[in-house]
Structure formats: structure tokens, C-alpha cells
Amino acid sequence: MLLELDGITVAFGGLTAVGDVTFSMAKGDVLGLVGPNGAGKTTLFNAVSGLVRPTRGTARFNGHDLVSMPIHARARAGIGRAFQVPQPMHELTVRENLMVASRFATGRVDKERIEEILDLLKLGHKAESDAATSLALTEQKALEVGKALATNPKLLMLDEVLAGLETAGKRAFMHTLAEVKQRYGIALLIIEHDIETITRLCPRVVVLNFGRLIAEGSPDLVFNDPEVIRSYTGGEAA
């Protein structure tokens, strides 16, 4: 197994943002993570990438215990992550953002791969722009994905990177993701609110509500689950 989460719980004071979540992913898996706003999806990502410490539970990546691993070591171990609220590295250009990611996660600056990523994400024309101040929201999201890709991950965690994209852009991006998966053979863990996107991309979906895992399975299955419909989709079919 690539990623194994067992009983992960994250509490902030009295609030249990993630409660006792258990699931796992194999190499090359594509898994969708959905749920209502505030269900705990981003917090779960935080727990996997090391930004919050789980109150309880264990997490393993490639057989190694994650919980005691520092953030940077997780990146080097192969966990790449795109933030929901884009966090470009300030004061660096778009290309330098990718250079740092490549250098520190893999040990060397992989120039070829960086060009490839710029190209793939259509960021070429912004390569020399200041990453923090001169990108439209969607470009910032693309850069998020780019940074994660540059770390040469085994698992790529994407937090609503397609939100805000126009329909055509979304299609193109999904294409890109499929290509990425194909080319680099990485597993994807995707948070997305757009049901169509999830259905197209993910053969398997996990649904959270109030921090708890309430459904798991194929999109067809979970999006027809009454509880999921009530709390999340509101009856909108895929």
C-alpha cells in the first residue's frame, strides 16, 4: 500500500475536524475526496502532509510511519501537495518556485522536467513573473500543481485545483492530469466539489461529513447514497 490511514482524528479545541478516518491507496490509484464545506477534507490533507498533527490515529506512507516524519521529509518521501488557497513561494518567480521544489525534494534541479511542467500547465508565458503578485487565481492554482509535480511525487494531493476554471479549462486540465498520471505513474488524491469532474477522474471516491467517513466506493455508488445526497449533492446527479 502506498498510503494507509488508520483512525486519523484531528481536533481543534472542542471541534473534531476529522474523526476516525480510515482508508488506503495503492500505487497509481486515483481517489476522490469529497464532502460538504468544512467536512475536514483539507484538514485531512494537512495531516498527511504534516501541517497538523493528528490527535489520534496512524498514517503510513510506503510502509513508513508518517506521523513522526517532519514536513520536508514527507515531501522527499514522495508526497506532493497543492494547497486550496494557493501558497506560491513569495519573492520568487514562477520558474524559481519550480526549481526550489525540484532541488530540495529530489536533490537536484531537473531543468527538463521544469520546462515540461511549465509547458503542461501553460505557465510558460508567466515563467519569469513574480509568483506571488502577478497571477490570476487560476494561474496560481496551476502553479500549485506545478510545485507539487516538481517534487517528483509518488502521491499527488490536489485540493480543489480545478475550482474556478471554465468548463473548457477544466476539461483541458483533466486531460493534463490524466497525462501526468500516465507519464509519471503517480497516485492522485483529489478534493473537488464538481461532481462531474470527480466522476470522470476517479474510479473510487471517499465522502466525508462532519469529519467522518460516510461513504466509500465508485462514484455511481456514493453519489446515489441518500446521506451523501442530503448533505452534499442535494440530489444533483452525476
Binding site: H72, M89, H90, E91, L92, A101, R103
Partner: protein, 317 residues
Amino acid sequence: MNDKIKIALFLVLAYIAVPLALGSNAYVIGLIVAALTIGGIAVAWALLGNLGGMVSFGHAAFFGVGAYVSALLTLKGGWPVFPSMLMAGIGAAIASVATMPALRLRGPYFALAILAYAEIFRILATEAKPITGGAAGLLSIPRLPIVLGLDFGSKLGGYFVILTIVAASMAVYHLIRSSTYGLALKAMHDSEDATRVVGVNSTLLKAWMLAVSAFITGVVGAFNAHYINFLEPDYAFAGQWTTLAIVSAIFGGYRTVTGPLLGALVVYLVDQLAFKPILPQGHQIVLGVLLGAMILFSPGGLMPLLLAKKKGPAHAA
């Protein structure tokens, strides 16, 4: 002009032209040495501030530790001066390890934590009478030695020593800055989490920058002890080592390698040579005005101002 030529020019100017022109004027050389001393701390401070993203209000801590280490090694341990100056750097770097819990803090929290360390060191130096001589301090600290016929203990000799320390520090600063470590450090500034999730061990990097910065400051402190031949806690850990360095670094442009040195030279020399003779008592007011005007008219400091003249407006907004 090519960078290499510029550097060569600077070195020729500093090592040959300045001594030839001013070597006989002990007062001016003395002022330049004092300015370079501040410049050395300013370079170290800027290295930490620009690369590590950590503004320190307490570099006097490392200055003082370096000064005491070297003074005590020579006075009580009978060490030769130059090796103990090196040890002073190491001592300051070790002291910086004691301050490393502060790396968890950011922004003003970090800045003041280091200041607190400086205060604590000062009081410890005052209280540790048997070792440090307490408030009375240490007098007659060995002067810089004569090596191969060169008297480093003379004014001009001191000039060459501090100049070399500062030039070497700037070289180190430049090397770190232009490496990928430099990029990562720059990035950590405002986006530490983002930098860590791509594999940068930011804590370690910051710790290294703090240690390097402390090392430089410690060596400068040691130099000053052997140059002034006197040390006491209030002097060694005086806030002015920090404030003057910060002012110089920002004034000159702390984002550049040469800015801090330039800033120190200008701030110190202009104040002492130009304003003080005109306004024996009020000259610091002029300094204050100058600082304010600088920040308002060229927020990036003196260095960018000079560069902008040649390049024209570099980038809009």
C-alpha cells in the same frame, strides 16, 4: 561593467588606494575601521535578514560573546590573537545554538527573543565576575600581533584585518545567496509552509544561517576587542552594535550584498566627518533626518538607488 572587474576594482581600491591615500591620517583610518566594524555586523545581519527572513534585534549578543571569547582566550588562556578570533566566531556560533529555540518564533517575536538573549548574556557577563571581571570589565586585552613584519596592531594593520573579515563575509553572503539554498531561503520568508511541503528543511536552513551570521558577528566582535583593547558587559553587548548595524544594512539596501557595507560607511563616516564638525552636539538629528529621507525616497536603500541611476527605472510597481 562585468561583475568580476567590479570586484577587482573594489579590492584594489580597498587594499591599495585607501591606505595609500589616507594611511597617514590616523583619525580617518580609525573612523573607517569603526565603520567597517559596524559594516561587518551589518553584513552578518543582512545575511540573516535577507536570506533567513529573520530580523534580529540582538546581534549584540553574538558580538559580545565573540569579544569575550577571544579576550579571555588571549588574556587567560594565553592563546595567540588570530586563532582565538576564529574561536570567537565558533563561540558565537555555539551561542547561537543556545538561541535556536527562538527559531520557532517569527517576525518581531524572533527579533525580540534574540534581544532578550543579548540582555541575558550581558547580565551573565556582569554577574560572572571571576571569569569576566564583572562590570569592571577587562582592560589591556592583547593587541593584534605583528606577523611577518606587518604590525596588525597599528591603525592601518587593524584596517587590513577588519577589511578582510568584511570582504570574506560578503563573499560568503554572495555564495549562499546565489545558490539554490539562497532561493529556498528567500522563499521561506513569507511562505514557510509552502517551502516545507516541497522538501525544504527550513528549520535546519534557518539554523545554519543563524550560525553563519553569528559566526561573522563574533569574529567582528573579537576584532573590536583586540582593537580597542577593552571590554565590559555594557559595551560588549551594547544595543548600538545592533541598531547601527540594522540602520546601516537597511540604509544601504539589505537585499544586496554590498548595501550593508556601503550603508555603514556612509552612515558612520558622513555623520562623523561631515555633520559632527558642523553641529558638534546636534549632528545625530541630521542622521535621523537622513535616515528618514532615505526610507521615503529610496525604500530599497542606497544601493538600489545607485544602481537605478545607471539602469533607469528597473520595473514598475
